[in-house]
Symmetry: C2
Amino acid sequence: MTEYLHPLDPATAEEIEKATALVKTAFGDIQLHFKAAGLDEPPKKQLLEYLDAEHAGRPLPALPRNIFVMWYIKRTPRLFEAIVDVTNGTIANQTELPREFHGPIDRAELSEAAAVVIADPGVLKELQRLEIDPTNVVLDPWDYGVDGTETQERQTQVFLYIRNPKNNHPDSNHYSFPLDFMVVVDLCTMKVKSIMRIPMGSDEKIATDSEVTHRETEPAEPEYLHELQKCPPRTSLKPYQVIQPEGASFTVKGHLIEWENWRFRVGFNWREGLTLHDLSFMGQKTFYRLSLSEMFVPYGDPRSPIYRKGAFDLGNVGAGVTANNLKLGCDCLGTIKYFGGHVVAVDGSAAPRDNAICVHEVDAGIQWKHTNHRTGKAVVVRKRQLVLQTIVTVANYEYIFAWIFDQSGEIIMETRATGILSTQPISKDAKVAWGTRVADGVVAPYHQHLFSLRIDPAVGGNQNSFVTSDSVPIPWDDVLNPLGTGYCTDDKTVQRAGAVEDDVSKGRAFKIINENTINPVSLTPIGYKIVPIRSQMLLAQPGSWHWRRSEFAESPFWVTKYKDRQLFSAGDYTNQSLGGTGIKAWTKDCEMVRNEDIVIWHTYGLTHNPRVEDFPIMPAEIVQVSLKPNNFLLYNPTMDVPESSQIFNKSVAYEDKVQPEEEKSDVSTCCSA
Amino acid sequence: MTEYLHPLDPATAEEIEKATALVKTAFGDIQLHFKAAGLDEPPKKQLLEYLDAEHAGRPLPALPRNIFVMWYIKRTPRLFEAIVDVTNGTIANQTELPREFHGPIDRAELSEAAAVVIADPGVLKELQRLEIDPTNVVLDPWDYGVDGTETQERQTQVFLYIRNPKNNHPDSNHYSFPLDFMVVVDLCTMKVKSIMRIPMGSDEKIATDSEVTHRETEPAEPEYLHELQKCPPRTSLKPYQVIQPEGASFTVKGHLIEWENWRFRVGFNWREGLTLHDLSFMGQKTFYRLSLSEMFVPYGDPRSPIYRKGAFDLGNVGAGVTANNLKLGCDCLGTIKYFGGHVVAVDGSAAPRDNAICVHEVDAGIQWKHTNHRTGKAVVVRKRQLVLQTIVTVANYEYIFAWIFDQSGEIIMETRATGILSTQPISKDAKVAWGTRVADGVVAPYHQHLFSLRIDPAVGGNQNSFVTSDSVPIPWDDVLNPLGTGYCTDDKTVQRAGAVEDDVSKGRAFKIINENTINPVSLTPIGYKIVPIRSQMLLAQPGSWHWRRSEFAESPFWVTKYKDRQLFSAGDYTNQSLGGTGIKAWTKDCEMVRNEDIVIWHTYGLTHNPRVEDFPIMPAEIVQVSLKPNNFLLYNPTMDVPESSQIFNKSVAYEDKVQPEEEKSDVSTCCSA
C-alpha cells in the first residue's frame, strides 16, 4: 500500500484483492466462492488511541489494515471466515463455520439458480399448464427463509412472473404478472428441489394440475418505466434547480467531512453500506459509530409455501453490495460530492461500487424565527442540512437511507422505502385479510420493515448511560398542585443490558447521557436524545422462526455493553439463520451498563399494508429517527447562522415573469415586519 | 361590492368595514371595541350547491356574503356577536353572550394594560425591591387562564422581564431576564388587581419584601438578534438558491390554486388563519375543508400564581390576527406567490395582513426509484411538493404552519414550533422537576403544545365513515398459519360520534372511507388515511380547569356529525373559558356517524420539556401529520412524473469549481446503472 489510509477508510480494491489472494493461496487448487470482504475495523481500544492522537495532533500509532473475508469452498456448504492483515500479509482467526450457518446470497449464484429453474422439466410443465412461453418468464430468486427443516442445506426460493404480454419488454414490470407457483433450488447441487403452487384464494387451496389460474389481463397501468406507460409523461412540472454559486459549504479531505461545526468520517462496507465514525459537534464528541445494523422484512401471508418469506436485507445481501451508482443530477440536487467503495466478486476480485454515497446540502425551511411585537423586528434563520444518501436495491425493493446533519447538532436518520411490491397471484374476486389487491389478479401481501439502528455513543466521552424520561401528571396537592395542572418528568437510568420498552402515553423520551459531565446551565448531565417514530414491533408469533431470527425486532430499544465486532443485531450470519446469535444472546448476562461504554440498538419499523397507490411502483414511504442534543451545549448552536435575506436567497415573486437581474430595492432589506 | 367574490374568498377590507359600520350605526353613540371580524362561510348545503354548479360549469346560485363580527361595548364585559349580511346590508343573529364568555385578547388592549402595570405604585415598589429601573422593564401580557374564581371578570396576567443590562436594546431578549413577580390587570377597569411573587425554588416559597432575588448575570449567550450577540455571524455557509427558470408549476386564479392534479381554494380568517376548501385530486373530491381548529399550550409549573398559565392561541388570539408578513426571500425560496387578508382593528377598521400566506414549490428528494438488476435499467422520479405556509407570532412563541401538497395525492400538515421559551426566574442552584434551567437564573417550564386539526372530509363525496385498522398476529393454525408468521388487519368502523383512541402497539391506522364507492382494484371502499405522529395527550389532571377547557386534548381522534358553524373544538369562546362548549358537548348525544357527513378532529401534540439548546431562541421542533390516499386511486398517481435528469436539474459535482455552462456529455444521460 503506497497511499496513506486512515484506519477507518474503507477497504480499497488492492486490499480486497490482496486479502483474497492470500486466502486463495492458502487453499491451493481448491476452488473458492467469495461471499464478502471489507475493512475489519480496529478494536475500539486501539482506534481510540489513534483518534485521540489524531485529534491532539500527536504522532499517530501504526495500526495494521485488516480485511474481513468470507468464502465457501465452491459448490459445497463449507463456509469460512478470516481476518487478513494486509499490512503484514497474514491470515488470522480463520474459522470454518458450523453447517447451520450460511453466507449471504449473491447475484452470480442466484442467476445460476434462475437458469436452472427455467430449464427444469417440472417448471416447464407448470408453464405449459399456464399456457406461458418460457421465454416470457422473469425469475425472482430470494433468500430462502426458515421452516425448521433442512437447516444445513443452502437454498433459494424463486418467485416467477412474466413480462407484460402487451409489450414483452425486458424492463416490463413483471410484478404486475405473478405466476401461481414457486420453486426451491439447492445452491450446492444447483438443482430444483421442489415446485410448489401458491394458493390464490383466501384458504390453502391451490390450482389443480390442469388449471389455468386467473392472471391480470388489462390492468389500469402495470408499468413504471415511462416509455412503456399508456400515457406520455406530464408536462406540467417546471424545472427546479438548486444553485450554489460559491460551491458547497462542506469540505472533504479523504473520508473526513467538516460542515457547520460537524466533523466525522465516512465509512463503507459490503454489509452496512454507509457508516459514520468519530463524530463531533462544536468540538465535542457525540458518537463513536453510527450505522444501520440490520433490517428484517417479514411477510404476512401465513400459508405454505410462502410462509417463509422474510428477508434480512443487510445480513443476507448487503447494503454495500446492492448500493446504487448515484448519477449526477438524478438522486440529489445542488453541488454533490460522491464517495465510492468496493466489495468482493465471487472470484475474489474487487467489485467497485462507484458513487455509492452522495453528499449534498439541502435547505430545509426555517430553523428559527421570532418577531418582537413591541418593535416589529423580525429575525429569521433558515435551516441548512447536510445529507449523506445511499440507495440500495434488494430485488424488488429500494431503500433510500440518508443521514442528515443539521446545524442545530441534530442527526436525522431518514429511511425511504420505495421500489416495487413483492406480489403474488390472486383469484379474480378473492380478498384476503393479509394483503391488498393492487391490480387484477395481483395481491401485495402485508409485511413489515423493521430496521435496527446501531448507535455507538460517545456523548462527551465513551462512558455513557441510557435513560428513559416519562412526562407524568403531578398528583393533586393543596399547596404544590392546587389546580391539578402540573406535570413533571420521571427519569429512569437503565442499569443492566437488555431491552427497553416504549410508552407513548407517557411521552417517553430516550436519552443517552454522560453522568460524568454536568451541563453548567441545566445542572444536569449532558446528553443526546433519540427521537423515535410511532412504530409497531414484530407481529410474528413469539416462538416463530421469524421471531427467533429477528432478535432485535421485539423491542424498540436495546442496551448492550460495547464489545468489539458486535455489530449485527440479528447475528453475523442471518441467511437461513436459526436465531440465538444476536442481541438477545448478548444481553442475557444482564451486564451493568450504567456509566459504561455502551451501545444503543434502536428498532423502528413500518407496518406496510400496501395501498393500491403503492403500485406498480411505490411512492417513497418516509420515516425519520433523530438524535438531538439534549442539554449537551450551552445554548442554541444555530444562533450565529446569518439572517435569511433576499440578497442571499434571490427568490422571485410569482407575479414577476422573469427572474430579476438584481433584487428590487423594496425587497432587498427584509425580515422586519 | 363591485368585484366578483367567490363565496369562500376571505372577507375584504370593504366588507369588514361595511359590517362594522352597520354594527356601529345600530349602537349609535355607544363606543364599541371590535374584537373579531371575518367571513362567515355559507351553510354547507348552500355552498355545496354552489360548488357543484361551479364544477359542472352551470350558472352559479347567488349567495349573500356574510361577515361574522364580535365586539364589546367598550370598557365593559358586555360581549356581542352577529352575522352581518354585507350583500344586503342587514344584521342577523345578533347575540349578547353570557357574562362567563370572553372575547379574545388584542394587542391594543394588552398594551394599555402593560402601560397601567408599569405606572402602578405597587409594581414600582417591587421594582425598587429588585433594584431595577422601570424604564428597563419589558412586559408580556398574556391571556389570563382560569382558576374557577372571578369567572365573569375580564383579566390579563402580565409577566415581567428586563432588557439585557449589557445593551439595554429595545430588541434585547428580555426572556433571558425574568423577574420574580407577576401582575393581574382587570381589563374593564384597566387597573392592577394583584401583584404576586413567583416561587424561585422547588417549593412554594417566595421572596421576602426586602429580598433581591437571583438574576442572570453573565449568561453564555442571551441574545438571538445577531447584532447583539457576542460573536459575529458565521461565514461558513455558502449561498443556496432555488431557481425556477420557467416559473412555478402552480397556477393561481383569485384564491383557486391548481397544481399537479390538485385543485383547491385558499381561505383566510382572523382565527384559523389559513384554511383550505373544496379540495380535489385527479378530479375526485377529497376534502371539503381543512383547518387548524385550535391549539392549547398548558404549562407544567403547578404552583400559584402561575398555575393558570395555558393559552388557546387560536381562540384567545387568532392565527390570522397574528399572521406574519412573509417577506420575499426570507421565509421561502424559489418562486413565491403571496396571499394576504384582513382582520379587524379595535375601532372597526380593516387591518391588513399582507403576505400572510406564501405559496411555493419544494423539491423533497426522491419520490420513487427502481433498478431492474437484470438489465441495470434504473428509473428515478423526484418528489415535488407545493407548500402553503403561514407563520404566527403569539407573544414569545412562533408557529410555522405549512400545508404541503404532494404529487402522490398526500397532504402533509407540518407544524414547526419556534420562537422563544416563556421563562420564569429560578434561584442560583435550584432545580425543579417540571422545568429546565436554560440560563443562569432562568427556568423554562415544561409545557405541551396540543393541536386540534379539523378534517372535514369529502372522500369521493360527503358521506364518509371513519375506520380504525389494527395489524394483529394471526393465531397459530396447522393449516392456515403453521409457522406463526402471518398477520392481518382488524378493521372497526366507528358507529357513533365520540372519541377514538390510538394503539401504537397494534400499528393502528386511521382511515376515512366512502362505503358507497368501491375501488375496482382493491375491491374495498375508497379512502384516505390519517397518519398521526407519536403523540402524548393532555397531562393535566382529569377535572382540572386545563382539562375541562381543552376538550379535544384528551383523545387523538374525535368523530362528529357535520354541523354548520361547529368549527372550534374547545368552543367558540376559549378565553377564560370554563369548558362545556366544545367537542365533548357535541359528541355527548352519540349521533350515528357511519356513512354520514362527518368531521374528524385530530389532536396531535408536542410535550415540550425544554432543552438548553432551545434557548435563547428555539430551533424549530417539527412534526408532520399526513393525509394519504388509501385505495382511493387506481394506481400510483406519480407514474407520469418525468424521470429525474441532469438536463432538468443541472446539478454540479463537488470537484467542479465552477458551474458548467452545459452539462458534460458523460452525465447528460443518467439514471441507468
